[in-house]
């Protein structure tokens, strides 16, 4: 609403009353002609703010509409991005899940096979012979390696294991 409506309309009515009492008209046209400037002022005073309000309101509505459209477009983009991210994340999670699940199942199967087969005492195994036998099957270009000496009573393996 335009500002000060009561004041404006009171002012307009006051002008009309003042012009009507100040100059007793012989006819409407005479009165209208004589008081035209004041009527114009009253009309402007009454209508101009409304016109301005309507224009301003229209501009405001237009800005509001554009803003809402922008917000809607941005919201759609954000939703689309979120959907893409969620999809990518879900895909990665599923992939990781099955990758890890498959690895864990292989480990369990390996251990299970070890549980079901015969076991040989480590002290009865001829480690050097076993490793050398494998070496004997290698091409001559790869036989530079020789088994290291047997581990001492304070062996190195395990030093990099988390405990």
């Amino acid at each position: 609403m335009a500002p000060f409506p009561l004041f404006r309309w009171a002012a307009a009515v006051g002008i009309l009353v003042w012009t009507a009492t100040g100059t007793a008209p012989h006819s409407i046209s005479d009165w209208f002609t004589a008081n035209f400037p004041w009527l114009l002022v009253a009309g402007v005073l009454t209508l101009a703010p409304e016109v301005v309000r309507i224009e301003f309101g229209g501009l405001k509505m237009e800005l509001l509409r554009e803003t809402r459209e922008d917000v809607k477009a941005l919201s759609q983009q954000i939703n689309q991005l979120q959907v893409q991210q969620a999809s990518a994340s879900a895909s990665t999670s599923v992939h990781q899940y099955f990758h890890d699940a498959a690895a864990a199942a292989r480990v369990a199967a390996d251990v299970k096979r070890g549980e079901e087969t015969e076991a040989v005492p480590a002290k009865d195994i001829n480690w050097d012979a076993m490793l050398k036998a494998a070496l004997d099957n290698l091409p001559s270009s790869r036989t530079g390696w020789q088994p290291a000496s047997r581990p001492s009573s304070n062996p190195e393996p395990g030093s990099n294991v988390e405990t």
Binding site: Y97, H99, D100, A101, A102, A103, A104, A105, R106, V107, A108, A109, D110, V111, K112, R113, G114, E115, E116, T117, E118, A119, V120, P121, A122, K123, I125, W127, M130, L131, A133, A134, L135, N137, L138, W145, P147, A148, R150, P151, S152, S153, P155, E156, P157, G158, S159, N160, V161, E162, T163
Partner: protein, 148 residues
Amino acid sequence: MSTAPTSDSTVASDVLVAQTVLDRLSKLAEADPEKAEAVAQAIQSVGRVPAATIRIDLPDGPRGAKYMALAPSDPDAPVIIYRSLIPGVDQQVPGWLVTALLSPTEYQRYREAERTGLLDDPAFQKLMLAGLGAAAIAWLLSRSGKPV
């Protein structure tokens, strides 16, 4: 962490090695002798050096089995999985049974599955049962001499 028995001999007399582990070690020796040597040394040190516990739940495995993981000195060599021998299950006690060798990648992936709680997932447990069944069938077929 395990409490390791001590031994004065260079090879712990109470360590048993599953035949599947020896087979895999032989293949590793052909491919990479240095890694095989590192694994062999680590196997002989089982029970005498600290190792990490690893949770392996076998559906019909030995009850009360607590598995351990021992990494050889070569970080690229397979990790050794073993457990203590159990009275009533194993004939020889006390001692250790080396049951598997895991590639470092497999080991890390298993650790990740363990860390994320995947092992508690019912879907995973069904998958593992199916995998174990398939592995058991394949193993039985290979023992009977039929092609897998």
